[in-house]
Amino acid sequence: MSEATTDRLGAFDLRDAPSMDGLRACVHCGICLPQCPTYRVLGEEMDSPRGRLYLMRAAAEGRTELTPTLARHLDLCLGCRACETACPSGVPFGQLLEATRSQLERRRVRAPATDHGTLGFLLDLFPYPGRLGPLLHGLRLYQWSGLQLMVRTLGFLTPFKKLQAMEALLPPLPASAPALPAVTPACGKRRGRAGLLIGCVQRFFYPDVNAATARLLSAAGYDVVVPPGQECCGALHLHAGRLDEFRGMARRLIDSFDPELDVIVTNAAGCGSALKEYGHWLDDDAAQQFAGKTRDISEVLVEAALPLREINERVTYHDACHLAHGQRILRQPRELLGRIPGLTLIDLKDSDLCCGSAGVYNLLEPELAGELGRRKVERIEETGARIVVSGNPGCLMQIAQQCRARGLAIEVTHPVSLLARALVDA
């Protein structure tokens, strides 16, 4: 029986409780099940979107407590939101999940099978450039000295599954790139001023993607403003349910950008999706405005006419979940790639099924993520493409690692890198 007193919603308290209307919108039709990566691998109703909604609703209606078992079923969710795209009833699954996780997190309801130690470590590392930067200096040495080759060949890390997963994921680190100029002026006809989010993972692992983004934006007619003090957007904390820290990060990020900018541009699907939801979680004018003018780089470039030279390559496109499902961006990246003369874009089967990366998920649940990664790369291999592109750094790392593991010579890159390669400088 629902006996919602004023300060409770069943097992939830009212601070960031999942929305009852959202939970009630599910009519259990099951159309989401075949779209859910964890359901496809595990085949368990409790590890399907419908099952997770049942559990959240049971908690909201006071039929169950927030137990470690319940937490585990929610922990296993990748948060890819493929179920939202599939759902005919418009259940806002991502927001319900994040709200529920925030209550589990705040009350320290933890599943023994979930590695909260690693999660905490990663959440204290990735969003802080001041911590990640120095660590990567060390890792660069590890790679360049040949130590990595030895570790990988001899399998030193095999007994340490998590550490091995992290090590395997490490892409060849670029030399520390020079910081992007604070302002890159527009070329040609000026369209406006764009603020560029350089991300926390992107800036260290794929600085060339940020450089390419700035160059393309400038060619598209934008003055590109890169606030040097910008930190993390908080997406990882949002997905883990650490809403207080997320809100702090979001607030600082908003403050670091000039409110007069015409558009805020990201080239990382996960960040873009989080930025666009600032309005929901922060609920004030500044956040609403910031969210309202956030665009993925593909949304901005698709409206510009860029001069592109020929690239004769067979390319396939993997939909990052937080582009396809989080932001419903499917057409724009494909259209942009299709504009490169000579490029053959090959359809990827199940292109919008999660690759297993999902933020830090592949470090927390290496087995399940590995299975999804293997399936993804099998599909990629079937296309016969030489290059696979995707608009999110996490996907790039995960797919590249799976390609390495299979011994495939497939180039894994970001769409803007290909576009920048084709761009004819004015």
């Binding site: 259990h28 075949p34 109703e45």
Partner: protein, 439 residues
């Protein structure tokens, strides 16, 4: 509640032995997720073979457990809430195709296989199972038969009753029975398959179904006829059915549902497809366009995806299934819309033109009283005078307790239902309470 403490661990062990420990669930989360209309079972068992269903039911029958079979779980809210529930038999692991003979156009599949997965395998040989309930690609073969669900293909191919040739099912006491045949023409024995279609798992658990298949047409084209009034839609529908045109799919859409296929501003619409050789498709389409024009309506070709776009049409929190005389379909659609508008409810409706079946979902400020007084009572009363019926196929649990999902049932008919149930399941093991009259 019956005493359960003593026998529970023993039953737990016995069920685990039957389906395998890892496929017997009894933790709170699993039970919550598999609850039927809010009624939690004590176990969820996932058999992988007919023999396991048989042993589980034999045990349930001996111990007086109440059992609910489950396919994809999409339609568990059909019927009354269970009177009691101990064991959910989840057939999701039973997904094999047992036999498929494309030359005979007959196939046998396990009950848990989804229509979508089966369809993909058949399509590779240019064939199909002609069952397409709206939004039903993920529903299971067994569940669709047990719920007697059908869709736009019905106009040409009929329902599960016409397509199910034979069935292997498990009776309440665990006896495995085979009914029907594996060929298209057969007259031997009782026609048990037809009895099981629509029985909602109250007479036996369908384990395998042998179904009649049809060729996929070599070419298909779809058209939408948009009409400015219900009367004109009714005229168009009547003219179409009386004509020599042979649609292979037909759906009557109300204004809300027609938006899903890109129609804006029509009071009603007909979504029609022809399946044949390309020339015949084109000429039938042209004839449909002429027919529409003669009735002051407009017909235009639409993409093949339009049919898939109908999937969300019936996904509101309340779903109704209304049966009436075929020629009165649009009349009852108008009545439903009128009553719903009075209660500030939005109706999205898909009708089976030619068969007098109208499925509709309702969204808006729903209350049990509002539904009962605004929609159910007046429509059931008027429909009853014409021999029609109205079933609430889905409603939120908190409302459902106060509704009569099945509507009135005549004493004569109920007596027959009672005798059939008595013959198949005298101790009321299978889905007790869920069928009409709480059988």
């Amino acid at each position: 509640m019956r005493a359960m403490a003593v026998s529970s661990p023993a039953l737990d062990r016995a069920l685990g032995d039957i389906v395998g420990r890892e496929h017997l669930l009894s933790d709170a989360a699993a039970l919550e997720v598999h609850a039927v209309d809010g009624v939690r079972p004590r176990w969820v068992a996932r058999p992988s073979a007919v023999e396991q269903i048989s042993r589980a039911l034999a045990l349930a029958s001996a111990e007086g457990l109440a059992v609910a079979p489950r396919g994809s779980g999409s339609s568990l809210s059909l019927g009354n809430a269970p009177g009691r529930l101990d064991l959910v038999l989840d057939l999701g692991r039973m997904q094999r195709i047992i036999e498929y003979v494309p030359e005979d156009m007959v196939g046998t599949a396990e009950a848990g296989l989804s229509l979508g997965a089966l369809g993909a395998q058949l399509a590779a040989r240019g064939q199909m199972l002609a069952l397409d309930p709206i939004g039903g690609a993920s529903r299971s073969v067994g569940g669709v038969l047990a719920c007697h669900a059908s869709g736009p293909l019905r106009v040409r191919y009929g329902t599960g009753r016409d397509l199910l040739l034979g069935v292997r099912f498990v009776q309440a006491d665990g006896t495995v029975t085979w009914g029907g045949s594996r060929v298209v023409k057969s007259v031997s024995g009782y026609d048990v398959p037809k009895l099981l279609v629509g029985s909602l798992g109250t007479l036996g658990v369908i384990a395998e179904a042998t179904v009649r298949l049809h060729p996929l047409p070599p070419a298909r084209g779809s058209w939408v006829v948009s009409t400015p009034s219900h009367a004109i839609a009714a005229d168009c529908l009547a003219a179409l059915l009386a004509s020599t045109l042979e649609p292979d799919r037909l759906a009557v859409l109300n204004a809300e549902a027609s938006k899903l296929v890109g129609v804006d501003g029509a009071r009603a619409a007909l979504l029609v497809s022809f399946g044949s050789v390309a020339e015949a498709v084109a000429s039938q389409g042209a004839a449909l366009e002429r027919l529409a024009k003669e009735h002051r309506a407009g017909a235009a070709p639409v993409a093949a995806e339009s049919w898939a776009q109908l999937a969300p049409a019936l996904s509101g929190p309340v779903k109704l299934k209304l049966a009436c005389e075929p020629r009165r379909l649009l009349h009852w659609l108008a009545e439903l819309e009128r009553e719903a508008a009075g209660g500030r409810l939005t109706v999205s409706a898909v009708g089976q033109g030619g068969h007098g079946v109208l499925e509709a979902s309702l969204t808006g400020p729903l209350t049990a009283r509002g539904l009962a007084t605004r929609v159910l009572a007046p429509l059931r009363h008027e429909l009853g005078r014409e021999g029609g019926s109205l079933v609430v196929e889905r409603a939120p649990v908190e409302l459902k307790a106060e509704l009569e999902p099945w509507g009135p049932i005549s004493p004569e008919l109920f007596a027959i239902h009672g005798r059939v149930k008595q013959a198949f399941d005298p101790t009321r093991v299978l889905n007790p309470g869920r069928f009409a009259g709480r059988l």
